[in-house]
Symmetry: C3
Subunit: 333 residues, 3 copies
């Protein structure tokens, strides 16, 4: 879709400096962009890359002059870039309808303008909302529901009775609603604790490739609207995640953890059972939260067992000095 610099500036409520009719047909990075690709600069540091770029239109902070370019001045260029991309890039044109090879139960409800790809299986009483796209090989179990305008990439598995909201994106290989991991040991064997709860996922959630979200045991695993989950993440049974929290790759969240709103969790973090991470907390990559612990609102923690980042840095600095200190002490006594 080709627009002019004026179209984009208007859409962003931004000031334009340069050619109002400059054409914008796509987006790009400064190094590889063509003349009609929109780029952004968010710091003085990146300015040289923009100046050297073939791109003619640049999103830039107010006051940043870019000779020869058409600048669209915005307070937050990267944010504006993400928003403009949604305007400029054509949505994938996916024809609606059910592929001839899909096995859809007559007792399932599929919106007429939804798209169901090849070799999809949709079981009894499942429901697929308007304009939702179900990729090849997806499995939508009995009674599972998906809202509107959601997108399941190929090879997504929804177990029986899980619920996804609208505008949810689930990447390939993600598994929603497998049994939680719970056993009771007795009489020389592990008895499976019942895993009959469900999974409820809100709107505008993104779930990464090969991520697993287990169903509740007796309750519900709940992921609120706006949550973004990276690849290979484990979300165990009965976990609750508040709105707009962000969870990086390979993090593991054990059973019954409660995560607040706007929490940021780095990659490979691990949370023991029944942790409570309050809204706005930040957990560093590879940090480990012991079972039952609470991380206070706004706290930034690091390490295993997790402690405040300041404390972690201080301790780590002393660990670095420890060989020298230790030797000195040995001499003294």
């Amino acid at each position: 879709m080709t627009l002019t610099a004026t179209d984009v500036a208007k859409y962003l409520h931004a000031e334009l400096d340069g050619d109002p009719l400059a054409r914008i047909s796509s987006i790009g990075s400064p190094d590889t962009a063509g003349p009609e690709d929109l780029i952004y600069v968010d710091s003085e540091r990146n300015r040289a890359r923009a100046e050297a770029s073939r791109a003619l239109c640049v999103l830039a902070p107010p006051g940043l002059a870019l000779p020869g370019k058409t600048a669209i001045h915005v307070g937050a260029p990267k944010l504006a870039f993400a928003r403009a991309a949604a305007l400029i890039l054509p949505g994938k044109r996916v024809p609606s309808g059910i592929h001839a090879t899909a096995v859809v139960s007559p007792a399932a409800r599929v919106a007429p303008d939804a798209t169901v790809g090849p070799y999809v299986v949709i079981e009894d009483h499942a429901a697929v909302g308007a304009r939702t796209v179900i990729g090849a090989f997806c499995f939508v179990g009995r009674g599972a529901t998906i809202g509107e305008e959601s997108r399941l990439h190929p090879h997504v598995t929804l177990y029986e009775g899980v619920h996804l909201g609208s505008r949810v994106i689930a990447h390939s290989g993600s598994v929603i609603g497998a049994d939680g991991f719970g056993y009771v040991y007795g009489e020389g064997r592990h008895w499976k604790f019942p895993q009959i709860g469900s999974v409820v996922i809100g709107d505008d959630v993104e779930i990464g490739a090969n991520t697993t979200v287990d169903r509740g045991s007796l309750e519900t695993t709940a992921i609120s609207s706006g949550v973004k989950i990276d690849n290979l993440v484990q979300v165990a049974h009965n976990v609750q995640i508040g709105e707009n929290s962000v969870i990086a790759a390979q993090t593991g969240i054990s059973g019954s953890c409660v995560i607040g709103e706007g929490v940021a969790i780095g990659g490979q973090a691990g949370l023991g059972e029944h942790c409570n991470v309050e809204s706005g907390a930040v957990l560093g990559g590879q940090s480990g939260i012991l079972p039952g612990k609470t991380i206070r609102s706004g706290q930034v923690v690091w390490g295993t067992p997790a402690r405040s980042l300041d404390r972690f840095k201080e301790q780590h600095a002393w660990i670095s000095r420890l060989p020298e200190l230790g030797k000195r002490l040995r001499k003294m006594v």
Copy 2:
């Protein structure tokens, strides 16, 4: 299936205190249960939740009085609950037979009362035992065998020649029998070390979603009966795991490790190659066992490199005091 309190008490060999004809049609948690859901209380602490519950029948320790409830007194309420659940909850009714879309080799053997779902592929010389259920999109490679009453959820991959026992549950996305990770470097490139061994999995094993179990290189990767493995776990080539061991999510077990019986491994633990974890040992979450190390029977270890939990706690306490100690020492010298 609706039972009476008497039915459940008899099944559990338990004492009944209350209405012998109280109806039990399902199970639940105290907070969300309906009148006919069986619940359990395993401590004084949870007693209030049970008292406030709408559930009429409660599994409770001997001597715990619950006014207005029908109590079934058992020594281990949670265990009794798991056992009762298996009685009360209806097994999934899955009609036997092979779905019209399944591609089953004429040289494969599928028991007449097994269930093969849509878009399953079963290759030559594979075998599927009685009452086993193979979910949609499962791949059963050449010569792979599955025992009786096992369940493969959708999207499970069994490579050529792997063997699963009876009553095995494999969750979606699990991959059994991919090549182990072995190369020999020489002449400027990595040569693939042959990965021609197999995988043998015993009875009553559960394998989590997106977990990977590699085939042996020249020997066999062996998982004994009763082992429970969570999601996203990596089991490398030639690993042996003893009976009833339990492995939490995202743990990685490197090649040729030998794990004893009844071992418990926390989430995100990592074991280097050729480790030996003796029976009954406990490995904490995120712990790291260096290659070739032995963890003694019954030992509880933590941290990386893993040490005994007591030692870990003591060292960690001193690390917390290190900044203060260090400053004091600096002043002294």
Copy 3:
């Protein structure tokens, strides 16, 4: 395929000591080999296992005498074994052609001697090279290309427009080209940063089961020839990995990291964004590299935050002594 000891010795340019006509029909490990299986011994320590083996032919270092065996003397027996295995083991005979159930776009190009398994989906403008084998349930997205003699095991997903070279092996459940994890927060929500780059994978790359390689955001995620990646690894957007690097299971590589050639990364390592790991560096298992850090060529690092292995060992030794030191210090002051 049955060969003689002479055939194998000639292929390896090696000296033969024993029966030149000894038959070799397969390979094995000393403990389980039959008489016609070739085995190898690479140290005095393993010599007894070879002597006790039923195998008649042994790859062994020069000078190692094995009474009763036919020895093929080579400088690097394990390497020779891997090379000989490629000669001795029959390649999987997979008949070429497109399975009747595959859904292949008429606008895709599939080499006539390629093999496309059951229930494969190949979209418009995709290309599959000569003698490449695509396993059941693989998804080859629009415009994705695969070189010659590559092998996709069942259940591999290639998103739109990714490129795989020749002799690439992708194991089941691997997902190549899912969206990178990037958002810009503003106006109370996370805006998806565009993920419109591609993935380019060179020749002779192996990708483990359930591993995820994300597409670039605006640039390209690039994995060079000869790279070997284990199971459940995460490779984020815009990452570049140099030739012949080896990455063990469950490692996570964050966005825009640059990894040199011949780098070795242990299991469960984590790299923050924009790290630079120079050629020949070694990262220990579970090590954590902070965002933006550089690991110098040839350095061996360990721990989180990663430091040189020597430094790590020294610090760890002092941590072990810390309780004793601390108590002594307490007494002094």
